[in-house]
Assembly symmetry: C2
Homo-oligomer: 373 residues x 2
């Protein structure tokens, strides 16, 4: 495993870090934003288009692919990289989060979780061992430990949940067979700093090639999220990448980087795209708005994405009004490119030693935009 | 106009022809299949993807674009090429066919047609002059005369319709102002050979840069279609391209070429793609079928399209089952590429003098496939 996966920390600026993570399908540069291909497809985009946004890592969801088309089918067809034609690094989650957010009638025991499929209501039993087997069938470069994502405020529940999550982590480590996949552990504990500290310590002890912070951006305040990140930062090993799961607005990304996070993923850019919305650094634009009907400018004059290089807001609005699928494609390309370019700019400023100024500018522009809005 | 538009007839094989048509946005080679971008978008594809299929000409629909977003808006934004980012030749139809197939409560007079929008029920009046004005606003390289597409069997109705269509053609010619657009006339007359002959003679007299055959593939038999093409072929000028409107199955394309047709268009490849169907030369495959669930082969092993180069039938079936938009994109790429490659192969065989053998092989394989089916 050590041959395949290692993290080069190239530069730091206070708690912010710039690095390179090495995987069997190539390197990726951190901080990184990873687009999500839930069902082995980044929605409305070909892998070629995903590549052109500058993406170096994508996510796929174990829960969805286990249910459909099935992880064994994907293994038979050569694994996820081959199946979906993405030759760069892939990360799969454990299925845990989706069971807690999508499936119905779930029942948690020490052994695992019984749940019913959101597709056809069929009953399934997922355990740490089963999650690892599924993820080994899928064949992503980075796989995640099976965890329990609890409601963030219930202290007693979170206390039990982190204990179970850490027993499950050990079972994942024990069951894992493939050496060409990096297993990341997940820090849980809701908004409770003492629980987060305990969870981070337990995860850090395992000395895994990377570590994740789960259960954030699920209803807590920004301030609560930041405090958790600050505490966890002090504990997780400095020489391993830290992945903040499911987070991906510009403001959350920069706040994460300021608190030592290296990796981000989120369905937001593609989901907003399907809901007619273009992301910019400081605000989102609903392009179905009539005021864009004759707007000959691109979403962002400075943006170098395929969409902004070739299309006016008026054209994209027309596609939205005419219910053309191309609207979702062009907006997905822009939104993903925007977030990736933002993380690349952050990375460059960390390496150049001016991330402090970069961040101050960002927050100053953000406040101004919020005032002008 | 003569500077912009001319047709080089490079080779013939019996009635079949291979040529090049020159337009202000570049040349296209005939026989040609043109994908349809009804609402200024070839559905589910970027222009880059359309280009990669080998497309040299696309269609857009005047009726749809007049209603939404409006031809004046497109003119303000630099015309259709700029608006939709397609820098190669474009052809717009006249709006006539869509009024007769999509709009409701239409009323035809000598002056024009009153109809109600299929979008919002609003009332509109389209005349030959208005159709030309709209098409001049859109700015396609090839524009079509405003015609009446009648039910093919009613002889009396067709007799009146072709007279009116030819008076309308003269009004289109008289009203046309832009010299960088080629106006094509349209032969009508249903299945009635004497009416088709009369219509073709009247259209031919106008000496336009190209001529179209309308009102076919609308319910008549193949035999009736072929007889019409054979009669019209004898009359339309040999040195101008002939465009068979709305036709685009492999069998109709080769039968058209055998009867002197140079240009084809059809929504079929993109419509079938959105209905889970892959086209091959001899049959269509419904990829939602369970028998493809584990099929690791591409749609066609010999096909050089992006889809067949990178994806298994199993993956495309998964996308269909998972309701991923990428299914429509990958199938549209394949279906359009297939038809374009077919017309290119026909063209090569005409130039090489072996189109007779090419056609015999095609029909022999077709019969065999039909037997094996």
């Amino acid at each position: 495993m050590e041959n395949f996966f290692y993290f080069d920390l190239l530069a730091t600026y206070q708690n912010a870090r710039a690095g390179i993570f090495h995987t069997p399908h190539g390197d990726f540069e951190t901080p990184i934003f990873a687009p999500v291909g839930t069902q082995a497809s980044v929605k409305a985009m070909t892998p070629q288009q995903v590549e052109q946004t500058g993406a170096q890592l994508i996510l796929a969801n174990t829960y969805h692919l286990y249910l459909r088309p099935g992880d064994q089918l994907i293994a038979e067809l050569g694994g996820l990289h081959q199946f979906m034609n993405w030759q760069h690094p892939i990360l799969t989650d454990s299925g845990g989060f989706q069971i807690f957010s999508l499936a119905s009638t779930r029942k948690i025991t020490e052994d695992g979780v019984v749940f019913q499929s959101h597709i056809d209501g069929s009953s399934h039993f997922l355990t740490p061992e089963k999650s690892i087997e599924i993820q080994e069938n899928l064949g992503a470069d980075i796989i995640m430990a099976f965890d329990e994502c609890a409601e963030p405020y219930d202290r007693e529940y979170n206390k039990n949940a982190i204990s179970r999550t850490h027993r499950w982590l050990q079972r994942c480590i024990d069951h894992k067979k493939r050496s060409d996949q990096a297993l990341f552990g997940i820090v849980q504990g809701g908004i409770h700093l003492d629980l987060r500290i305990k969870s981070a310590s337990l995860v850090a002890e395992k000395n895994l090639p990377g570590n994740a912070i789960g259960g954030l951006s699920v209803g807590e305040t920004k301030d609560e999220m930041h405090k958790v990140l600050e505490e966890v930062h002090k504990i997780l090993p400095i020489d391993k990448p830290r992945y903040l799961m499911g987070v991906g607005t510009p403001i959350d990304i920069i706040n994460g980087v300021l608190r030592g996070v290296d990796m981000f993923d989120c369905v937001l850019p593609t989901r907003l795209a399907r809901h007619k919305t273009a992301m910019t650094l400081y605000k989102n634009l609903n392009l179905s708005n009539a005021k864009y009907a004759r707007d000959e400018n691109p979403i962002n004059n400075m943006c170098t994405c395929y969409t902004c290089q070739h299309y006016s807001k008026a054209y994209i609005r027309h596609l939205i009004q005419a219910k053309e699928m191309l609207a979702a494609t062009l907006l997905s390309i822009h939104n993903i490119h925007m977030l990736i370019q933002f993380t690349k700019d952050i990375r460059t400023s960390i390496i150049n030693g001016d991330f402090g100024e970069f961040a101050r500018n960002f927050f100053s522009n953000l406040n101004q935009e919020t005032h002008n809005f």
